[in-house]
Every structure is written in structure tokens, then in C-alpha cells.
Amino acid sequence: MSNQASITRLPQARRPALLGGYEWATLCLVGFAFAVPVLTRNPQILSQTNLILIAATAALGVYIMLRMDLMSFAVPAFMAIGGYTVAVLSLKLGVTDAILLGVAAFVMPALCAVPLGWLILRLKGVYFVLVTFVLTEIVQLLLFEAAPLTGGSNGLVGMPAVTLFGIELMDNSQVLLTTAGLAFAGFTITALFTRHFRYEFTAIEKNDVLAESLGLACWRYKALAFSVAAGVSGLAGFALVNMLLTAHPTSFAPMSSVSYITYTIVGGKGAILGTLAGAALLVTATDLFALKGELSPGLFGLLIIVVTLVARGGVIGLAAKAAGRMRRASPAAPARVAPIAAVQARGVKS
């Protein structure tokens, strides 16, 4: 029994709170990125923060689907749809407003996900994994083949800088502000969405057949989640295209989906903070290991093995476990109080 109970996080009794502790902490950390350009002009730090935010936002697409035990490799596909939507709008229609582009980058992949979800969300396990990977391959092929719209193998280059209320966001720090805005939007949407449906998602994750027999239309929740995950991935695609000022198929390589999944698993798939922690750890590690030249992939792999062996619940799971141990060890910690008073107050027979 206790073994079963320790598998995942434990949502406590129903709370009316809009967001939980992990969600608030994550939004505060993502919000802190707005302050980075004020604190430093170091291009290395600005670039690194940019990369972490893009990686973490992309990993949200994986996180949302994992809440229902579905491992999605489709994140690069939806990033590409979001990124190319922005590139086409800015290059061909002259739209540069960051808010308009952000809405388009979210809505277009989310809409594309509706019919795709209808096709593939009946699948589970390895079949779902395979089909989402193939979907990413197909989108990649379309990017190369639909040259009149996507620029083919040359991509779409020479994008104008985005604007906010008429102000051009051009230099490194302004690009970071754009990325931070998109990441904040992505994290807020994900936090509100997963928090709102947390019981439904947990029930579907643990036993979707049982959840269905309790009256949950699992397919609808999965379709909704797939669509929101696609939209959030599209925001990451916008941020990536905006940073590179180019939309190119290689930016959305199917194998990059492995990285986004790794960020989520290593960070801890039980909480939204895990995607941010995983992305921060692994993007920083990639940068550090790059100094070791050929040893870099080996060191990166070693780090992933160590983290997954030591921290089965990811970095956040490990931290939560350590915090729990410290609380229990502390003599000042209050004992767990059964809500007897509440029972008595309600006049319930005991």
C-alpha cells in the first residue's frame, strides 16, 4: 500500500485555490526572467536564459500530455507550426505585433491539433509514441516540400523584429523580454489548465478505464490537453524563431523531441516546476559540457543516467522528498493532526 502511495505526488483534500505552491513558485521563477536584462548585460547569460526559457516552454507540451500518461513526441511539430505561422505573418503580411503573433502562434497549432488528436488519441502507450514521432517527421517533410510557403530547405529568413505597442524589440535583452513574455504566457496557461483539471487528469493517468466508468469522458480531456499542449509548444516555436530571426526546418528536428521529454522526466513530471528545473539543469549542463569537446555527449548521457537513478521522481521529486525528511526530522515540526475537530464540528457520528 505505502509503496503504491509513494508513486506520485499526493494532491491533498480539495482546495479552492486557483494555483498551488509549485505553480506559484514556477511562475515567480519564470517572471524573474523579466528582471535578468535589468540585472545584467552579459550576452552569455542573456542567451543562456533565453535557451532555458524556450526549452522549458517546449517541455510543457510533454508535461501536459504526461499528466494523462501519454508520452508525446509531437512537440517539435507544433513548435514548427507556431514558429512558421509567425514567420509567414511577419514576412508575408507584415504583422510584427508581439501580442498578435503570440495569439497566432498559440491558436494555429492548437487548431491543427484538434483533427490530429481525433485521429491519434485513441492510441495508447508505444502506439501513441510512435504516431506522434511520425507526425513530427511528416511535418518536417512538409516544411521541406512546401517551399512556396515555408521556403523549403532555405527556411524563411530576414524576419523583421517584433514590436510591442509600436516599440521594436531588437537587441539581446529585448529578445529575452519577448521570450520571457511567451514563456510566462505558456507557463500560466499550463498551470491554470493542469490545476483546473488536476483530479480528472490524475484519474485518467492512473486508470482511464475506471475514470470513464465514473463518468469522465476521457477522450475529450485528452483532446483538450493535446490542443493546449500544441498551443503552448507553438509559443515556444515563436520564441525560437524570434531568437534566430529565421524559421528553418532543422530548428524543429524530430530528434529534438527527445530533449524536451528528457527535460520533463529529469526535472520531475509530477510538477510543473520540473520542466523548468529540468530545462535549466540540462541546458546549462549542455553548455558546460560543450567545453569538453568530444566528451560532451558522454558526459550529458552520464548526467541523465545519474539523475534518473538517484531521483526517480526527477529533481523536484528528490527535493520534495528531502524537504519532507527535514520536516519530519525537525523537533519543532507539528504532528499530523487528524481533522477530528472538523468531524465533531460537523456533528458526524464517530
Binding site: 491533498q12 483534500a13 484519474a203 486508470n207 463518468g215 469522465l216 468531524v343 464517530s350
Partner: protein
């Protein structure tokens, strides 16, 4: 309330249920008894829609529900407590119970919770505890409370006494009798026939996917065919 006619369920080439006719009226507790593999759980699963019926009609409140998915059947007013309890182990007791009432408003959920706490007082004491940490009997009560939380008109209980101590069997029996008093129809399967026959009004003895004997529970108790299960 629930009417089953000529129901057939097959798994590949194996026939699990063959030509079952059965009725459950409002406020009535109907018991299916039989050995392992008799087809009791298959019949329950066919009613909630977890297995596809090969043939036959299932009507609930006058509506043919045979073609509906299980979530739609649950929304029609059918509660289901599966064999082996199957609570969501990492969710709290309260979340487990209310996962059967997600379509209700928060106010209605709160009202339902209070009503269930009246029936099962231990829910209030353990509401924040992970359901996976409870004993088998407590988990069974959580599963039954979860099935009741949506306010069902018909409750399907699949082997509710399985592996439980007498103290829990008494509690569950009392809860079933209370449901009957409230007008909720109950269709339950059980291998432990003696305690189950005490709370049901009508019994059906199943063997090899067929109903071999039906009648009031007093008749079933004395029937020679039933003896092999008692």
C-alpha cells in the same frame, strides 16, 4: 429501472455471458452469485459499458444504453464500484470520492460529501490521507462512496466483500441497506453468498455465463443449486 434482455458477451471465441434476462427495480437490491468465471463481472461490465455486448438489449430508465460509452452511462445515473476496489492510490480519500462527482458543481459536491460522511464516518477522519495507504476494507468503502458520489439511481457493486474482514462486510451491508431505503437500485455480484443474500431481495445463480436459478433470496438460500456456492 434496469432491464437486460437476451444479453450476450464474448471475449474472442469465448462466451462469457449467454442470453441473460434480468430486471432491477427502483430501491431493489439484486444479487448475482456464482463461482469464478460464472460471468458475473462480465455482466456488470456490460451494463456499465466496459465490455462490448455481442447481442441483446440493456435499457435503463426506459432508454436503450447498449450503444453508449461508459462515461455516458455513468452520466445517465449508473454508479460503479469495480472488483478489487481500484482506488486512485496517490489521490486523497476526499479526492477519490469526489472523482465520481466531477460533473457536479462545487456546492453539490460539498453536499454529496457531507451526505457520504454521514454514511461512512471514517471518510471525514481520513479525508486528506492517500487512499493507497488505507486498509482493504477502507478502500472498498472509498470505492463505494466514489460510486455513490455522483448521485446514482443504480449502483453496480462488483464483489464488494472480496477479501474483507467481517467488520467491513457489516459496514458495507449497512450502507447497501441504507441505499435501498433511499430508493437506489443495487445490482451486486458476490461469491460470499451468505452475507450477500442477507441484504438482497432477489438473487440469481449464475454458472457458465447463464442464469441457472432466480428467485427471492429466501428461495435461493434453500435451493439445491445454490448450495454449491454457499
Amino acid at each position: 429501472m434496469l432491464s437486460i434482455r437476451d444479453l450476450h458477451v464474448s471475449y474472442g471465441g469465448t462466451r462469457a455471458v449467454e442470453g441473460i434476462d434480468l430486471d432491477v427495480g427502483a430501491g431493489e437490491t439484486v444479487l448475482l452469485i456464482g463461482a469464478n468465471g460464472a460471468g458475473k463481472s462480465s455482466l456488470i461490465n456490460a451494463v456499465i459499458g466496459l465490455v462490448r455486448t455481442a447481442r441483446g438489449r440493456v435499457t435503463f430508465d426506459g432508454r436503450d444504453i447498449a450503444g453508449l460509452p461508459s462515461d455516458a452511462r455513468a452520466r445517465c445515473g449508473i454508479g460503479y464500484s469495480p472488483e478489487g476496489r481500484r482506488v486512485f492510490p496517490s489521490m486523497s480519500v476526499k479526492d477519490n470520492v469526489l472523482s465520481g462527482a466531477v460533473r457536479l458543481t462545487p456546492r453539490e459536491q460539498a453536499r454529496r460529501w457531507d451526505g457520504l460522511v454521514d454514511t461512512f464516518p471514517f471518510l471525514a477522519e481520513r479525508q486528506a490521507q492517500a487512499a493507497g495507504e488505507l486498509s482493504g476494507g477502507q478502500q472498498q468503502l472509498v470505492a463505494i462512496a466514489r460510486a455513490m458520489s455522483g448521485g446514482p439511481k443504480l449502483l453496480l457493486l462488483d464483489e464488494p466483500f472480496l477479501g474483507l474482514a467481517p467488520v467491513w462486510i457489516r459496514q458495507i451491508s449497512a450502507a447497501v441497506q441504507r441505499m435501498r431505503d433511499e430508493g437506489i437500485a443495487v445490482l451486486m455480484t458476490e461469491q460470499m453468498a451468505r452475507p450477500a443474500l442477507r441484504i438482497a431481495q432477489v438473487g440469481h445463480v449464475m454458472r457458465s455465463g447463464q442464469i441457472r436459478r432466480s428467485g427471492r433470496t429466501e428461495e435461493i438460500k434453500g435451493a439445491a443449486l445454490a448450495e454449491e456456492y454457499l
